[in-house]
């Protein structure tokens, strides 16, 4: 056994890059998918709408932990190959981000949708041009506070990846705790790092919200 020390803190800080990697992966794949879901949910096509709704219901109705277990332990049985933890965890967080961002952005799009996209159509813009130049910029502004708020949720939720052995910040804390038998110090340190990352974001989200409400 050894003392909890600077080495453990550095290891945790080093592990933050894997937390960050998960967040980045989730956003890179989840954001376009979320945009697609939001488009489907606001389209006049009933079939597309229903498909999107089903996907959203499933993702929002299944605990993230269960999805992680399913993709890490369940899928390999089905596919017959063990995927690296980063892949299965990345897939799960991408789906998670897509579903939540999709709903957040749908709200933003709907807030500006009908009259504004009609005005765009009446000027001879294509549907895509109307979305790109007229609806999206306004929807983005409306949805930004909630999007940043979701980012905080996402960062905190990546800690769940530790259950399948993926070494990110929370898992690094567990390892330090096991090696030093100092859970209090270890987990306090983990919490402090999460807080240091999330607090500015929460603060930013709140000030965006105030600005938005003030502007209206």
């Amino acid at each position: 056994m050894r003392e909890f020390g600077i080495f453990d803190v550095l290891t945790m800080l080093w592990a933050v890059q894997w937390t960050a990697a998960l967040v980045v992966i989730a956003l890179i794949f989840g954001a376009p998918l979320g945009l697609l879901l939001a488009q489907m949910r606001t389209s006049s096509n009933k079939v597309l709408n229903l498909i999107a709704l089903c996907i959203l219901q499933i993702v929002q109705g299944v605990p993230l932990l269960a999805m992680l277990m399913f993709f890490y332990f369940g899928m390999p049985m089905f596919l017959g190959v063990q995927m690296p933890a980063l892949v299965s965890v990345g897939v799960v967080f991408s789906i998670f981000a897509a579903a939540f961002l999709g709903e957040i952005w749908r709200g933003g799009i709907q807030a500006v949708h009908t009259a504004q996209s009609e005005a765009a159509a009446c000027l001879g813009l294509t549907k895509w041009q109307g979305f790109r130049y007229v609806v999206a910029p306004q929807a983005f502004k409306i949805a930004l506070p909630a999007t940043v708020g979701f980012l905080v949720q996402l960062i905190k939720n990546t800690s769940l990846a530790s259950v399948v052995g993926f070494v990110e910040l929370a898992r690094a804390g567990q390892l330090a705790s096991a090696a030093t038998f100092q859970p209090l110090m270890s987990y306090a340190c983990v919490a402090a790092i999460y807080f240091a990352i999330c607090f500015p974001l929460t603060h930013w989200s709140r000030s965006l919200e105030n600005k938005l409400n003030g502007a209206r």
Partner: protein
């Protein structure tokens, strides 16, 4: 040949038949004013004319184009048919210049930059708002916003303009400036179909008044005749209720 031919158009929303066989002709340069009670289908008719709404039967033709034909590119059609709504519907996140030039730029009518700005200035001058070119919609009064909305249509050099109660959402003291812009347009020979409750304007500017009632054209004719000798009790009632 009339520029616009609306021929026996029917339109239902679910169970509700809103247009029950509407027939109207509009010659080039004519100002056709549609009047009628709220709910009589005036807005629906305008929305059918530029293809925002499908129709159940009948036909609408603008120039060579049959609006609801499968082969019609509505996007192209709308580049020649402007519409102005009661609620302005300017793009709030864009400057006046950008509001006006977005569509012409995307349609390839004008180059981004100096040429686009010149176009914006030209149409803003037509509505008397050249000095507001860099303003944002929220900095303008309702009357000014509506004039920008009209300028935005003009920038596409439409062959036909539709106006749906464009002064109804305005404070009374701002109505005049918008009507004046429309009068100028009428004088310059713009073909217009407009729905309005401004009877004075209809009387002075319209070449033809169409009175819609219960989803049909109940009566139509030149304003002088129609207002002086309404043939049906419905129109008599309507006229006396607007005095």
């Amino acid at each position: 040949m009339a520029l616009v031919e609306i021929n026996n158009v029917r339109k239902t929303f679910g169970e509700l038949e809103v247009l029950k066989g509407v027939t109207i002709e509009v010659e080039k340069g004519e100002i056709v004013t549609i009047i009628g009670r709220s709910g009589s289908g005036k807005s629906t008719l305008l929305r059918c004319i530029n293809g925002l709404e499908q129709i159940d039967s009948g036909e609408i033709r603008i120039g060579e184009q049959v609006v609801h034909a499968k082969s019609t590119d509505l996007r192209k059609l709308r580049q020649h048919v402007g519409i102005v709504f009661q609620q302005f519907n300017l793009f709030p996140h864009m400057s006046v210049e950008r509001n006006i030039t977005l569509a012409p730029i995307l349609a390839g009518r004008v180059q981004k930059g100096a040429a686009a700005r010149e176009l914006a200035l030209k149409v803003l001058t037509q509505v008397g708002l050249a000095e507001k070119i860099d303003a944002y919609p929220e900095q303008l009064s309702g009357g000014q916003q509506q004039r920008v909305a009209i300028a935005r249509c003009l920038a596409m050099s439409p062959d036909l303009m539709l106006f749906d109660e464009v002064t109804s959402a305005l404070d009374p003291e701002l109505v005049g400036e918008v009507l004046k812009v429309m009068e100028d347009l009428a004088r310059q020979g713009m073909t217009m179909i407009l729905v309005t409750h401004e009877m004075g304007f209809a009387r002075n500017v319209a070449s033809k008044i169409v009175f819609m009632h219960a989803g049909k054209v109940h009566e139509q004719g030149p304003p002088a005749e129609l207002f002086a000798n309404p043939a049906t009790p419905e129109l008599q009632n309507f006229i006396s209720s607007t005095r």
